[in-house]
Every structure is written in C-alpha cells, then in structure tokens.
C-alpha cells in the first residue's frame, strides 16, 4: 500500500490538497444551483476526508519531528514567510478529526439549514480550510492567517443562520476571539524581530523562531500574549463567556464544528506553541498554579452551571467548558500521560459533544424547542434515538468503555503525578458530570410522556443514523481499544515533555543558533557559546 502512495508522491501534496480542495469546493458550490449546494458541499467534504484518510495509515509515529507530509515553498520571501506545512503525532489526529467530522456535520445539517444554502456550504468549506490550515501550518505567519480567517465564516454562520440573539452572539464571539489573537500577533512579531536581530535573517518558520533565546521576563510577557489567545479559544474559565452564547445561537452544524474542532485549536496552541516556545514561563510555579486553578474552576463551575440550565443546548455548551478544563489540566501537568490524556479528551469531546449537538438539532427539527421541560418519555416513542443519545451522554460523562473515560482517566493520572491534590479535586468533576447529564437524560428520555406533541415524534431516519453511527462507533472504539490513538501520539508527546523539561532548566543567555535534525523530535539543539 505504501508503494502506491509513494508512487503518486502522496506525502508531498496531501496537506496542500487538503487546503485547496475546500477552496475549490467553494467555487463549485457557488457556481452550482441552490438546490445542489448541499450535495456539492457534502461531496467536497467527502473528497477531503478520503484524501486525508491515508494519513492515519501512513503516519509513522516514531518520527516525531514535524517533517512528515511536509511541504515548503517561498511565499513572501522579503519577510521570511513561507508556505510551510507538516504533521506530527498531535496534529495528525486533529486533522483527521476535522476532515471526518465535516462530512458528518454537513449531512446532519441537510434539514436544519433551509435557506441560503449556497452561502452556507461555502462558509462551512472556508471554515474547514481555515481549521486544517491552522493545524498544519509550520510558519507562524501562516498559522496566524489561518487562525484569524476562521473567524469570518464562523461569524457569518452564527449571524446569518443562528437563533434569536444571533447578532449579539456573533459579534461577541468575534470580538472575544480577536482580542487574544491580535496580542498574539504582536508576540509573533516580537519573536520575529528577536530572531532577525540575532541571526540577521528574516524568518517566521516554526523551527527557526523556536530557537530564539528569551529571557525569563520576555517569556513571561510573550506567554501572556499567546496564552490569552489560546485560553479564549479553549475556552478557559473565566474567558468562556462567549461560548454559551455562540453555541446556543449558532445553527446545529455551526455548534458542532465550533465545539468539536474550533475549541481544539486553543488546546493545540498550548501544545504546539506555548509549551515549547516559553518553557520557563510555562513551568513556572505561579503560572502553572494560575492555569490549573482556572482549569479546576472551569471543571467545577461549568458543571454546576450546566446542571441548572433549562435549555439542553446551553447545558451541553457548558459541558464543553468543563471538558476543556480537563484538557488544560492534562497539558499543564506536563507528564506524558497528562498530555496524552489531554489529546484523547480533545478527540473524545469532538465526537461526543459533536454528536450531542447534532442530536439536539434533530430534536429541535422535530419539536422546535430545546427546553428540557418540553420533552419527556421520548425513549418509548423513539427508542433508537434514545439509545444513541444515552450512549453519547455516557461517553460525555466518561463512563468506562467509552472514549471519555480513557481521556479523563489519563489526564487525571498524569496530573496526579505532579499535582496530586489538584487531580483529586478535578476528579470530583467527573461526578458532577453525572450530576448534570443524567437528570437531563432522565427528563428528556424517560419520565412519563406528558406532552401530546411528543407522542408522535419520529425516530431516527436513515440519514440521521448514517450521521450518528460513525460518531458512536468512534466513541466506543476509542473507549475499548485506545491503543492506536495512544501509539500515534506517544513519541511526539514524550519528545515534547523532554524538550520542555530540558529547556525549562536553563535557556543559555547567548546562543549560537545551529539547527540540528534532532532524533528526539523537536528539531533544534541549543548550544552554549562562550561569553566573550
């Protein structure tokens, strides 16, 4: 199999194709008729998925540098900006999550999006391009462009196809996310200038800027600038307030992509940029303390708030805050298990929360409400639907045998090694998860059928089964046999932890910047130079 892919040079063009196909897809969707838009959109996203699928098999976990499937070309040479893309064990899974969820989401939106379909599917494809671009970019300028450009389609998706308060939610989402990113831009430029000052050449390349020696003070400020951008996107408590509004007002497919993929970008930023770029700041006890405190607060506070929500969609939105708290917890534990746990939680949350939003959307299509009190006893009316919902809810809680368990367990184990007390408190979050999720399940699916409208509710259609089945299979697969996922991330994560540990101890004051292809993965070695 490898032979065939080598023969067509798959590795050298696949990432570029993943960016260009959605872009071309936009043109196709816009050129076609309104009626054909959804089919065209689905077809394009399927093509992207099929193109990306071999990545799962061809990715070599042992090679941890960002060299796999890499491509490079000059773009704005005056500023040292290049089109540089590549994958490692972290990003490969996130790219696959994105490409796999997109066709599912689009198929799931066939009924929900009834008007202005051409524009809608064009926006979704633009969003897909932006997300994939941000995951694969190995040039900080390129990364920033993709990072920012995602806001535009999301803004329109919420604002045009959203609910009652869509304008408010769209602008809030936009401004919140933009605050952080703009400061990050200044941070990126600062790194760029330091690199230029030291080496005399301009470059925005990830591997180049990684070598910029920074004093602790500089790390502190830059950490702040980058962390704000990522923490808002995650979102980390107390910067999460845009999320419930955006989720509730966004149309179903918007919520799904927002929860399943966009939030992951924040955590991805932590892993890709924050830890390796500013290791001293990222391991400083005060900063770690703050991040963990926010993560804990998020886990527990979001759980309590979720428990009292009358609107099921808002409830699920708050669970995102709690889940992402576990991700941040795992990341700042800075152990291999912790980081792996964080990645599994990210994937698992993508599947389970995505599925929950899709199903709430299906309920909404049937009943035009999302209030929990409007439902009741639906299990008897729609048994298939109920089964799917309950499995997903249990995966979201983190029941053993589902993906949620593996991720949260690993994150907690990882955190326990470094911060036992924090891990113990966070573990109560799992209990709270049951506390908010199970009553909702009870009130929607069990209890007597007291609303006449609910008696005739349709069960899942074939299309809906096709939408939900892969997600549920994924949750169970990851829960029962997580080895393939862990295998793919383990070497990259270990290399990252070693790299951060090593650099956190001492960053030499004067550095000769000698790039060495490091077998450990992060392709950089810092060598001390004699101070003259």
């Amino acid at each position: 199999m490898g032979g065939f892919f080598d023969a067509i040079g798959y590795g050298s063009w696949v990432l570029t194709a993943l960016l260009l196909v959605p872009l071309a897809g936009i043109a196709v969707v816009l050129a076609g008729s309104e009626a054909a838009a959804r089919k065209a959109g689905l077809a394009v996203s399927l093509v992207v998925f099929l193109l990306s699928l071999p990545l799962w098999f061809l990715f070599d976990p042992a090679t941890t540098g960002l060299t796999q499937f890499a491509a490079e070309a000059d773009w704005i040479p005056q500023w040292g900006i290049g089109y540089r893309v590549g994958l490692d064990g972290i990003s490969v899974l996130l790219v696959l999550l994105t490409t796999a969820l997109m066709p599912i989401t689009l198929l799931g939106s066939f009924r929900y999006i009834a008007r202005r379909q051409k524009a809608f599917y064009a926006m979704m494809l633009l969003l897909e391009m932006g997300v994939i671009g941000a995951f694969v970019a190995l040039d900080l300028f390129l990364f920033f462009m993709f990072w920012e450009v995602m806001l535009v389609p999301m803004y329109f998706i919420i604002g045009i196809w959203g609910g009652e308060r869509r304008v408010y939610a769209a602008i809030k989402f936009f401004l919140f996310t933009a605050v952080g990113s703009l400061l990050m831009l200044v941070g990126i430029l600062y790194l760029y200038f330091q690199y230029q000052r030291i080496t005399g050449t301009a470059s925005f390349a990830y591997v180049d800027l990684l070598q910029v020696p920074l004093t602790f003070r500089e790390q502190y400020w830059l950490f702040g600038a980058f962390a704000l951008a990522f923490a808002i996107k995650v979102p980390l408590f107390p910067l999460h307030t845009w999320l419930p509004d955006a989720h509730v007002e966004a149309p179903t497919p918007g919520s799904v992509i927002l929860a399943a993929v966009l939030l992951k970008l924040g955590a991805y930023g932590f892993l890709r940029f924050l830890l390796p770029f500013f290791p001293q700041a990222a391991t400083h006890s005060v900063i770690v303390g703050i991040m963990l405190a926010f993560a804990l607060a998020g886990i527990i506070y979001a759980a309590w708030v979720a428990a009292v929500q009358p609107d099921a969609k808002k409830l699920v939105a708050y669970t995102s805050v709690a889940h992402m708290g576990f991700v941040v917890l795992g990341i700042f534990a800075l152990t291999v298990q912790g980081l792996q746990g964080a990645i599994i939680v990210m994937l698992s949350h993508g599947l389970s929360t995505g599925a929950l939003f899709l199903m709430l959307g299906m309920l909404y299509e049937r009943r035009h409400t999302r209030l929990i009190s409007e439902f009741g006893g639906l299990a008897a009316v729609a048994p298939l639907f109920a089964t799917a919902f309950i499995i997903t809810a249990l995966a979201s809680i983190g029941l053993p045998g589902t993906s949620g368990f593996v991720g949260e367990f690993l994150a907690l184990v990882g955190a326990f090694q470094t911060f036992p007390i924090v891990a113990v408190i966070a573990a109560t979050g799992v209990i709270f998860a049951a506390y908010y999720m199970l009553p909702m399940v009870q009130r929607v699916w069990f209890n007597p059928v007291d609303k006449p409208e609910n008696r005739s509710m349709a069960d899942l259609s074939v299309r809906e089964i096709v939408v939900l089945a892969p997600l549920i299979l994924g949750m169970i697969w990851m829960g029962v046999y997580p080895k393939p996922f862990l295998d793919r991330t383990e070497p990259t994560v270990s290399a990252l932890v070693r790299f951060v540990d090593q650099r956190a101890v001492s960053v030499p004051d004067r550095v000769s910047v000698v790039p060495v292809a490091d077998a450990e993965g992060v392709a950089v070695v810092l060598e001390e130079e004699d101070p003259r």
Partner: protein, 506 residues
C-alpha cells in the same frame, strides 16, 4: 540608451524633472478650455469628450511618471526630488484619480454636476499633490500644499444645492487656511534656525548630532507638525474632517480620504525623514502621541456613528493614526510600510466610498446603516465587495489591509515601540465592531422589500469595485512584488546627501 541626469544648473532640466506635473497641468487646462465649448444642458449627460480627455491626460501622466524612474539625479538636494519615493506616491494619486473617474460618471449626471469643471479641478489638485509630495524645498512644499488645497475646497462645496456641502466647504476652508498659517510659520522658524528652506540641506545642517537645543528649530518643527496634522486629519486637528467629508459629493470624499490624505502624508514623511532625522528625539514623542490620540479617539467616535459616510470619515481618521505609527518609526521599514499601506488604503477606502455613493442614490439620501439592511442578499455584488473592503479596513488576513497593518507593526516593533504596536492592535479591535456592524446589517438583517429600490451600479463603478476588491485580496495573498517596490522606493528617501559632494545647484 543614455540615462538623463537631472542637473538643476540647467534650467531645462526643471522641465524634465517636473514632466508628470507639466503634462497634467496642460491636461487640466485643455479640459477646462474644451469644457467651455461643450453644451451641457442642465440635467443632460456629461460630455464624453471631456471625460476621455481627462482619462487620456491621466494616463499620459502615468507614463511620464514611469519615465522618471529612468532618470538620475546628480545630487539628492534638488528642489524637486527625482526618486522612487516620488514616483511611487505619484502613482498612488493617479490610482485614486483613475478610480474616481471610473466611479463618478453616473453620479455627476444624477446630481447635475458639471463634469468638466470637476475634472479640471481634480487634475489641478492632483498636480498640487504631486508637487506637495515631491518637493524638497519647504517653499515648494507650501506651493504644492496650496495648489492641492484650493481646488479641493472648491470641490467640497461644488454641489451648490446641498447645504451640507456649503457648511463642509466653509469649515474646511477656514481650518485649512488656519493650518497653512501654522505651516508657514513653521517654515519661517526653521529657516531662521538653519538658514535654508531646502529640506535636504536642513537635514545636513541639523546633522546626526542635531541642533536639538535650537529653540527656533524646535518650535518650527512643532508648528510643522501642527500644519501637517491638520492636513492628514490627525486628532486633535481633525475637527473639519467629518463635516467636510460628509458634505462633499461622495466621489470627491473618496478622493479626499485617499489621495489628498496620501499626499499630505507623503510630504509629511519626506520632510520629516529628510530634514529632521537628526533631531528625532525632538519630534518622536509628538508623532507618537499624535498617533495614539488619533487611533483611540477616531475609533471610539466611529463606534457610535450611525451614518455610514461619517463612519468612513472617522475610519479614515483612524487610518491616519496607523500611518502616523509608520511615520513615528522613522525607518526605511516605516516608510516602506507607509507606502504599501497607502496603496491598499486607497483601494479599500475608495471602494468603500464607491459603495456608499451607489447606495446613497440621488441626493445622497440613503446613508444610514438602516439603508444597508439585507443589501448583501438583494445586491450580492455590492455586499461582497463591501464586505471585502470592510474586512480589509479592519485588517483581516487574506486582505491587503492585514499585510499593511502587519508591515506597520513590524516597523513599530523594529523601532522598539512595542507598546505603540499594542495600542494599534487594540484600537483595530475596536474598529472591528463598527466595520462588522455594516457587515451585519448587510447580511444578518432582511431589509424591507424596498430597501434596494433605485440602486443602479453603472458599468464604470462595477469595474472599479471589482478591480479594487480583487486587488485588495490579491495584495493580501501575494504582496511580494509590491512589498519589494515599496521597500526600494522607501530606501530612495534615505539617500544621504552628505555622502555625496557638497550642496550644489542653489
């Protein structure tokens, strides 16, 4: 092919050095004369002959301007600079004029404005801009300033039937005259301190060590900052701007916001980077605080402006703030970022005003946000191009506005002004709100059925809109060529006269 060397000891060489200005002046007079013999009845269509003459002379000027690149200067102290910076800025003015000509035709007929007068005035104003931005002597700079300003005063009030126009023109004229006085006083003081009005020689006199303690020079520099501050509409010298911009016919507003501001900025930059780099420590704080004030105040006021034309006026003040950051950096990168930004700024601002013009319809009666409700769905072309212009004005990736802003940020960070860069991005963030508000009216609201009734996009406007939007996106994705050009042109501004033979030609 032998290269012509401009040597101002030969009188004829002044003519060569001023070739674009000469061509354009002749054009303006020809247009004026021909127009006299055209029969334009009230309400009748404007004369195509006058239009095509104007276009022809503009293009001829562009050719002459390009020819200047093949010419060499003997010394970089001549009264008129012959360098890439001048050629580049001239092209910006010409680009604005071309966009004006493309978009304004139908509007002038509809508002019953006599196109011949307008075109002649605009050509004269453009000559003024070119002299203003290309002069290397403070007296010539002043001549350029007035030659540009007087036709623009007239143009602001050219629609005699509109009381807003009269008010705007009067305010603009009074404030403009006031600022000219400041400017002249500054020139006099600097002359008193240095003994020359040639900016290259002032730069030599003040030298790298600087005459920072010379009170005359310091005061003169401050006066010049005020004078230029009025012309570029920096806060707190911006009071005339919203009224003048609102009162002027929209295409003229577009030209004012783009070309007139560009010319004032180009002159500002040339004077300060040629004459006063040695005493940077005297005026850097002035430039920085002017930038900070302008960015903050303009963006905040624009937040509450419900009239799109006025909102764009404040937006153009805010952009003056960003350009002042480039000026405050006072480096080659700063000057280059400034040139690049001006090109993008001209495209996006004129594009946005063109949309306002089209949506405004007869008598400019539809300028409110409400008039944009659902426009994106009823008029997709206008909606899409306006969204592109707004995103670019806000500085979003994959638009030229983003690259331009990053360039300015680079200049600021490179100068060590990180906090100024932070102010720039935070104020841009404020601007997101009011730019996006137009977008949300256009796309998130379903307008009344009649909201787009009577909107006509003429062919010229359509071409101008599509071209401007296309260029904005193109510059956002492939800015390389223009960056290169801007960098080279900016570098020409920094040729040190001291490195060559002594002062000559005076």
């Amino acid at each position: 092919m032998s290269v012509l060397s401009i040597d101002y000891s030969t009188q004829l060489h002044y003519l060569w050095a001023l070739l674009p200005e000469v061509v354009l002046s002749i054009g303006a007079m020809v247009v004026l004369l021909v127009d006299v013999f055209q029969r334009e009845d009230r309400g009748g269509p404007s004369s195509p002959l006058v239009f095509w003459l104007t276009v022809g002379f503009t293009l001829a000027t562009a050719v002459a301007n390009g020819w200047l690149l093949t010419v060499e200067e003997v010394v970089p102290t001549g009264m008129i600079a012959v360098d890439a910076f001048r050629v580049f800025s001239n092209y910006i003015f010409l680009l604005a004029v071309v966009l004006f000509l493309m978009m304004s035709g139908r509007y002038l007929d509809e508002e019953r404005l006599r196109s011949g007068e307008l075109y002649a005035l605009i050509l004269f104003a453009t000559v003024g801009m070119m002299v203003f931005a290309g002069a290397r002597d403070l007296m010539v700079v002043f001549i350029g300033l007035e030659l540009m300003s007087v036709p623009i005063y007239v143009l602001t009030g050219v629609n005699r039937r509109d009381p807003r126009a009269a008010e705007g023109a009067l305010k603009y004229f009074l404030m403009g005259a006031f600022s000219s006085a400041f400017f002249l006083f500054g020139v006099a003081l600097v002359y008193g301190g240095t003994g020359t009005t040639n900016i290259a020689l002032i730069g030599l006199t003040l030298g790298p060590e600087g005459l920072g303690s010379n009170a005359l020079v310091v005061l003169g520099v401050a006066m010049l900052v005020v004078g230029f501050g009025f012309k570029v509409a920096a806060v707190p010298f911006h009071m005339w701007t919203p009224d003048a911009y609102e009162g002027a016919p929209t295409p003229v507003t577009a030209l004012m916001a783009a070309a007139v501001k560009a010319a004032a900025f180009a002159a500002f930059l040339r004077v300060f980077l040629t004459a006063f780099p040695g005493i940077y420590g005297v005026w850097d704080a002035l430039a920085i605080w002017l930038a900070v004030l302008t960015m903050i105040a303009a963006n905040l006021v624009a937040l509450v402006e419900g009239n799109v034309k006025r909102m764009l006026a404040y937006s153009s003040i805010a952009h003056a703030g960003y350009l002042l950051v480039a000026l405050a950096a006072a480096t080659i990168t700063g000057a280059a970022s400034f040139l690049f930004y001006l090109v993008v700024y001209t495209l996006m601002t004129m594009g946005a005003f063109a949309v306002v013009m089209v949506v405004g319809r007869r008598g400019e009666a539809h300028l409110d946000l409400e008039d944009y409700a659902g426009l994106g769905w009823s008029r997709p072309l206008l909606g899409v191009v306006m969204t592109i212009f707004l995103l670019s004005l806000a500085g979003f990736p994959f638009t030229g506005g983003f690259i331009g802003k990053v360039y300015i940020l680079q200049a600021a960070v490179g100068r060590g002004l990180v906090w100024l860069a932070v102010v720039l991005v935070m104020t841009s963030l404020i601007s997101y709100y009011y730019y996006l508000r137009v977008a949300w009216y256009m796309w998130f609201r379903d307008g009344e059925p009649a909201v787009d009734e009577g909107i006509v996009v003429s062919t010229g406007t359509r071409v101008a809109l599509i071209a401007a939007a296309g260029l904005v996106v193109l510059l956002g994705i492939f800015p390389g060529e223009l960056l290169e050009l801007a960098e080279r042109s900016a570098a020409s501004l920094f040729r040190q006269p001291g490195a060559l033979a002594g002062p000559l030609g005076f």
